[in-house]
């Protein structure tokens, strides 16, 4: 038990841990001490003086937000003197406050309003002229009304301490103090919305919803963000079925109230006017004709049945986004396997996450992390490899920042972006040791790390004794490799040594590693690293692959990939087959499933005749050189369930309007394997329907009724079929390493592909015709296809720019915004350029959400083992014309 301290608050005794603040101790007794500047997320600053209390034996009143409890301390929060002090501080604050509550968006949920109501008389002695700040344009997304500001600096401190963006600062002195930004024209920052959320008054507000609502008129629903795999709890606030704003409470969720730009400002795609609201059926003349569900459902059943009868079930394939709920994904794969009778199905987890899951299954026998966010926060060493974490998984990034900034953890980064100070945070700036590695060469860096483990002599002796075969052969394989070209040996050794020497370490990997060639093997090799250090099965240690889409983990666990049944069991796992057959009362089809690229190839060759595509857009996602549209165009029957008329939907015979995450119930499984409830905040838009409902209806008409009354019923079945879904909740007990699986791996399983896993990777390719390395990746403000339909995010980033190091820009004598022509072996593209200091020289970065602009440039190589299509890097030439 931690040291406990006994204190009295208003006469009531309470024991709290040493180091607790008085204001927190009081809160535990249900005593709310009024406060503005205090917030549990940030360090006490004690500037507002609102929280004054009496402490016995202290002559002056003390600020309870900065006073630590001490044994025997007697605190009084409700004496006449204290009440008088509260009144007086409020009187001072209100002296200059405009009291424009009737038009303030904070009205109704404002701390100043609430405390004023509680403490001040209605009359003020202030007879003079109130200070007035001229209204000025602040930013496209955040509105600033400084006359309402109580100068508590919560926003400034949050932006610095939690986000590490340091975008805000107070300027001016005394009552002329105002909060401002550093950049010259308007705020340029991460737009996480945290400053708006943490502001106790209406000084910072969301411009997207300015003057749109009164808080008490809104309907609220707690749900989970539909963008990335971090799984942030959000509250949808709507009025008359329009989504007005998204907020997150500081006490709630895996994100404890923090959000990123996508979560906070990216919600307006939900009410976008282009949303599909009726089923569309292609007419003989090629046009789409809107129709009703009554008409379209029988048509679907009939056409699928026809294809099945004519060509067999094997001629039908399915592809689903991993943005759907577990319930959607589960019903999708069940529909494909039972109603259609085909194992040819896949999901967007194929774009990379399968690499990580396959590696985890193989080495540690789990399909999930063996660590949680708490383990990241409590680690004393974190190793980030190819994560680009702040842009791809911002909240997981905050956990890393918290570990480093609050608890002093060591941060080791092997990342594609270099340290540099800009208007958004850069995780590499917090690194203890950093190595900049071009995308595609992270697997080589992992080789280097393993080599360093042996060269530094930090491998676990116990393992060497008990599994000498494994250790010796790995050592031999690794020692035969040179340190990768262009990577500093000393840095790699420092990273290996530091990580090995820590108390609790977590390795985080992300898209740059998992979505590039060698992604699967590098994941296995990183587990070798953990094994060799003797840490793989230690508590608090583990590998944490981050997921790009919100439910990639769920997609795999629901069985919505070609490789696995529900529960991520192999198709040839007899026990799993039996279990599923008994739950389904029908046996799933036998035979291997085709993966995404295989299906497209089969469509091209005419083997596949029909496809059901749910929320995926291969016609846009895959590079033009892979000719996805051509393949899909050959299908006899293509059905697409979508929110918008995407490139793929345009090729379909039938397009079905799907509901967005804001309009449906169910569950998502985040990166760490936490299964969280999704709650509808809005009625389905127009005639749109949740994906599972559509499939369920078709199945009935096809004679294979997959009938469910609601999402909860599906979850009930999921729970029966899939281990790990019995517990729904915010703090999952992370999976444990499966000993027998690990022993199998160490005992010989490792050897299967030893040679290829530790094959020297090709050296840096020097191609004088294509001297630049272009890397297409996720940016902070966009993810996938929906974000570019969100007005707020488009306000910050409306187009794709080709980012390069400012020095390169200068060398090329290019100005920001100028157009350049890019050429590659596959084709060419014209795009505007932008400068970004964190991009290393010689590298180009292009945000993938706008990749239609460069679709012609990219080529694709599939992973030999996992079939992941790699298409995120390309050698290109830049022409200034």
């Amino acid at each position: 038990m931690a040291d406990m301290v006994n204190i009295l608050v208003d006469g009531t005794p309470i024991a709290v841990e040493k180091g607790t603040l008085v204001i927190e101790a009081a809160r535990r007794l249900g005593i709310m001490i009024p406060h503005f500047c205090y917030h549990p997320k940030i360090k006490p600053d004690a500037n507002c003086r609102m929280c004054l209390v009496e402490v016995e034996k202290m002559p002056k009143l003390q600020t309870s937000c900065s006073t630590l409890v001490a044994e025997g301390m007697a605190v009084r929060t409700n004496t006449a003197v204290v009440e008088e002090a509260h009144k007086s501080v409020l009187e001072f604050i209100l002296a200059n406050h405009p009291l424009d509550c009737p038009i303030c968006d904070q009205g109704g949920r404002c701390d100043l309003q609430d405390f004023s109501h509680r403490y001040t008389p209605t009359k003020s002695d202030f007879l003079d002229v109130k200070r007035v700040f001229q209204k000025e344009y602040f930013s496209p997304l955040i509105d600033k009304e400084m006359n309402r500001c109580v100068q508590c600096l919560r926003c400034v401190r949050y932006c610095d301490e939690v986000i590490d963006a340091k975008a805000l600062a107070p300027i001016g002195r005394g009552s002329r103090t105002e909060i401002s930004h550093f950049t010259s024209h308007q705020l340029d920052c991460e737009f996480c919305g945290g400053c708006v959320q943490i502001c106790p008054v209406g000084a910072f507000t969301n411009r997207l919803s300015d003057y749109e609502f009164r808080p008490w008129m809104m309907k609220r629903a707690d749900t989970v963000c539909g963008y990335c795999g971090d799984g942030c709890t959000i509250t949808l606030q709507s009025r008359e079925d329009e989504l007005i704003e998204v907020i997150s409470s500081f006490e709630k969720g895996r994100n404890s109230g923090d959000l990123c730009a996508r979560g906070y400002f990216g919600y307006q795609f939900v009410n976008h006017p282009d949303r599909l609201t009726m089923p569309l059926v292609r007419q003989p003349d090629g046009r789409f004709e809107p129709t009703t569900w009554e008409d379209v459902l029988p048509l679907l059943a009939e056409r699928f049945t026809q294809v099945k009868l004519a060509y067999g079930s094997e001629a039908v394939g399915g592809l689903i986004t991993s943005r759907g709920t577990n319930e959607d994904l589960y019903v999708f794969q069940k529909f494909m396997r039972l109603a259609i009778g085909s194992n040819h199905l896949d999901s967007a987890a194929r774009f990379g996450h399968v690499n990580a899951v396959e590696a985890m299954r193989r080495v540690q026998g789990t399909n999930r992390w063996t660590v949680s966010y708490e383990d990241i926060v409590n680690a004393d060493c974190l190793l980030l490899i190819g994560t680009q974490i702040t842009w791809t998984n911002p909240i997981a990034g905050l956990k890393v920042k918290e570990a480093v900034k609050k608890h002093g953890a060591k941060l080791l980064t092997i990342e594609a972006m270099q340290p540099s100070i800009e208007t958004t945070s850069n995780i590499a700036n917090l690194s203890t040791t950093h190595l900049t590695v071009e995308v595609g060469r992270h697997p080589a860096a992992v080789h280097g790390l393993l080599k360093a483990v042996f060269d530094e002599g930090v491998a676990d002796n116990h393992l060497a004794a008990t599994a000498s075969g494994y250790v010796d052969r790995t050592r031999a394989a690794v020692s035969a490799l040179p340190y990768p070209e262009g990577m500093d040996e000393a840095t790699l050794r420092t990273i290996a040594r530091t990580f090995a020497g820590s108390r609790r370490g977590v390795i985080l990997i992300g898209q740059d590693l998992l979505q590039s060639p060698g992604g699967y093997e590098a994941s296995v090799n990183l587990m070798d690293l953990l094994l060799l250090l003797g840490k793989l099965s230690e508590k608090g240690w583990g590998l944490a692959p981050l997921t790009e889409e919100n439910n990639e983990q769920g997609a795999i666990e629901m069985g919505a990939t070609a490789d696995y049944f529900p529960g991520a069991a192999s198709l040839d796992d007899a026990a799993a087959r039996t279990r599923i057959a008994s739950a389904w009362k029908e046996s799933p089809p036998v035979g291997a499933g085709m993966r995404m690229l295989d299906m497209l190839e089969a469509a091209r060759s005419g083997k596949l005749k029909a496809m059901l595509i749910v929320g995926e857009n291969p016609a846009r996602t895959l590079p033009a050189s892979a000719k996805p549209a051509e393949a899909l165009g050959r299908l006899e029957f293509l059905v697409v369930q979508e929110l918008f008329l995407t490139e793929t939907a345009k090729l379909a015979h039938v397009v079905l309007p799907a509901s967005s995450y804001a309009e449906k119930s169910g569950s998502f499984t985040n990166s760490e394997g936490c299964v969280q409830k999704v709650r509808a905040g809005l009625e389905p838009l127009g005639g749109s329907r949740p994906d599972w409902e559509i499939l369920s209806a078709v199945s009935v008409l096809m004679g294979y009724p997959l009938e469910y009354g609601d999402a909860a019923e599906i979850l009930k079945e999921i729970r029966a079929v899939i281990p790990g879904y019995r517990v729904l909740g915010a703090t999952p007990e992370p999976a444990r390493v499966d000993r027998p699986a690990m022993d199998r791996y160490v005992g010989g399983g490792f050897a299967e592909d030893m040679a290829s896993r530790y094959r020297a990777t090709s050296n840096i390719t020097q191609d004088s015709s294509y001297p630049w390395s272009l890397w297409v990746g996720q940016s902070l403000f966009h993810s996938g296809k929906l974000s570019t339909m969100a007005k707020g995010l488009l306000e910050i980033q409306k187009e794709g720019r080709l980012y390069m190091n400012p020095a390169d820009l200068q060398r090329m004598q290019l100005a920001e915004g100028e157009m350049v022509t890019l050429t590659s072996v596959a084709g060419e593209a014209r795009v505007p350029v932008g400068a970004l200091g964190r991009i290393p020289r010689g590298i180009l970065f292009f945000p993938e959400s706008f990749k239609e602009a460069i679709a012609g440039l990219l080529t694709m190589t599939p992973d030999a083992v996992t079939g992941v299509p790699y298409h995120k890097q390309q050698r290109v030439a830049v022409h200034k014309t």
């Binding site: 004690a46 500037n47 001072f92 007879l127 003079d128 002229v129 002195r173 005394g174 002329r176």
Partner: protein, 437 residues
């Protein structure tokens, strides 16, 4: 009874330039020879403790005691900062001490650094003191050249480096924790205490902040001994001399070094030549702008820490501002509040909002637009600031108001009753809002 000068002695010699050679000729840099390597650092702290030396920056905290708060076994660096931010209206002694005899203070800093185990020390100098900064830089260069600074000083193995850091024009940066923030490159805002600088100071390391004059005393205490120092002034609580800064309606304004314990009457009338134009004295500020006003009835109060405190004000930074009959006390308070409102850093609510509110009320009263209720509001608001702020600035800004209200309430009432300033001939100009001042 003129007393021997100590701190101002060298510079009072004809032809004294403050150069290293001059300072050495006058006996300078002898004290460090007695201390470095000769006395255990703890003994130096002890010596300063026994001398009774108290801080000359404002709060009058016993210097040796402050040093002894530095954790003895703290690993890693600790710092000394010389507070040369002197910005208090009516206080101008540090400037003279630095500009005219910089080595005296530098030698003091070496002694202090030795006593508390400091490797790097800073002089935080007010931004406007451009010449002072140049002089200090030159003096430091001389001292480095002579081997009094840097590595292995005088072959004793002791090392210390001193850097000059110029402020950027905020009064609040004289407050020691704001000074530290500013020195760290941040916005100069006072920190909430505890923790105190002795444990969590510059860059979160144990730190001592001492005033220029405090440090300048050290070589003399070392050279001439504790007994000598203890005999000067009004021991045991107020030992040594103080350099008082006399200004206002007097014949000979300027810096005067006297032993603590003489009376204000002696100071003003005998030493500073009495009142300008021989008008009667109406009021004076005994210890810088942050101190409560005194009136003619306080002329026999002794100029030492205890006596001034007992009489209801403070010796503060040693600035004595004298006002003659005919000076409007409301105007005087308004004038000071103008300063305080301008300089309030804005970090904490009572001071930030209070200073502008108080100023607006005073302005209205002075300009003939006051109401009787305003006097009550002033009297009510001031105690709501006192003791409830982050730093002592809040206590300072209310001192002029409460003391003038106490001694000159009738003057306030006349302003309100007559809706004009009784001391002003010209009509009041239009009021300007405090707003963007």
């Amino acid at each position: 009874m003129p007393h021997e000068l100590i701190l101002l002695k060298n510079m009072s010699q004809p032809g004294y330039t403050g150069s290293l050679a001059d300072y050495e000729r006058a006996g300078g840099y002898q004290a460090i020879r007695k201390v470095l390597g000769k006395m255990p650092p703890g003994d130096v702290t002890d010596l300063v403790k026994r001398s009774g030396l108290r801080g000359r920056g404002g709060a009058g905290f016993p210097t040796g005691v402050k040093w002894s708060f530095i954790p003895k076994d703290h690993p890693g660096p600790r710092y000394l900062c010389c507070n040369a931010d002197e910005s208090e209206p009516g206080t101008f002694k540090d400037r003279q001490l630095m500009e005219r005899d910089p080595h005296q203070m530098i030698e003091g800093m070496i002694i202090a650094s030795y006593a508390i185990g400091v490797r790097i020390a800073y002089i935080y100098i007010r931004g406007e003191f451009v010449m002072g900064a140049k002089i200090l830089e030159r003096a430091l260069a001389e001292a480095y050249k002579a081997g009094y600074l840097g590595e292995n000083i005088l072959g004793t193995g002791f090392a210390v480096d001193i850097y000059v850091h110029r402020g950027a024009g905020a009064y609040i940066c004289g407050e020691e924790t704001a000074l530290l923030e500013s020195l760290e490159g941040k916005r100069g805002l006072p920190r909430t205490k505890p923790p105190f600088p002795a444990t969590n100071g510059l860059f979160n390391k144990p730190t001592v902040v001492n005033n220029v004059e405090t440090l300048a005393n050290l070589p003399y205490i070392v050279n001439r001994g504790v007994e000598w120092f203890m005999a000067i002034g009004n021991p045991p609580k107020s030992t040594g001399t103080r350099v008082f800064c006399l200004s206002g309606h007097i014949k000979r304004p300027g810096n005067y070094e006297v032993p603590m314990g003489i009376t204000f009457r002696e100071m003003i009338y005998d030493i500073a030549g009495g009142m300008r134009g021989d008008k009667p004295l109406k009021a004076f500020i005994p210890g810088g702008a942050s101190a409560s006003f005194f009136t003619s009835q306080h002329l026999d109060v002794k100029m030492d820490f205890e006596s001034v405190a007992q009489a209801g004000s403070m010796l503060g930074s040693g600035g004595v501002t004298v006002m003659e009959e005919g000076t409007c006390m409301v105007w005087a308070a308004e004038n000071l509040l103008h300063f305080f409102n301008h300089e309030s850093c804005g970090k904490c609510t009572p001071c930030r909002e209070g200073s502008s509110w108080l100023l607006q009320i005073l302005r209205r009263i002075e300009h003939g637009k006051g109401k009787m209720e305003d006097l009550g509001t002033l009297a009510r608001l001031c105690p709501n600031i006192a003791g409830r702020t982050v730093c002592a600035f809040g206590d300072a800004e209310i001192a002029p108001i409460l003391s003038t209200l106490q001694y000159f309430r009738d003057e306030y009432e006349t302003h309100v009753r007559e809706q004009r300033c009784p001391f002003r001939r010209a009509p009041a100009p239009d009021l300007i809002a405090v707003g963007h001042g």
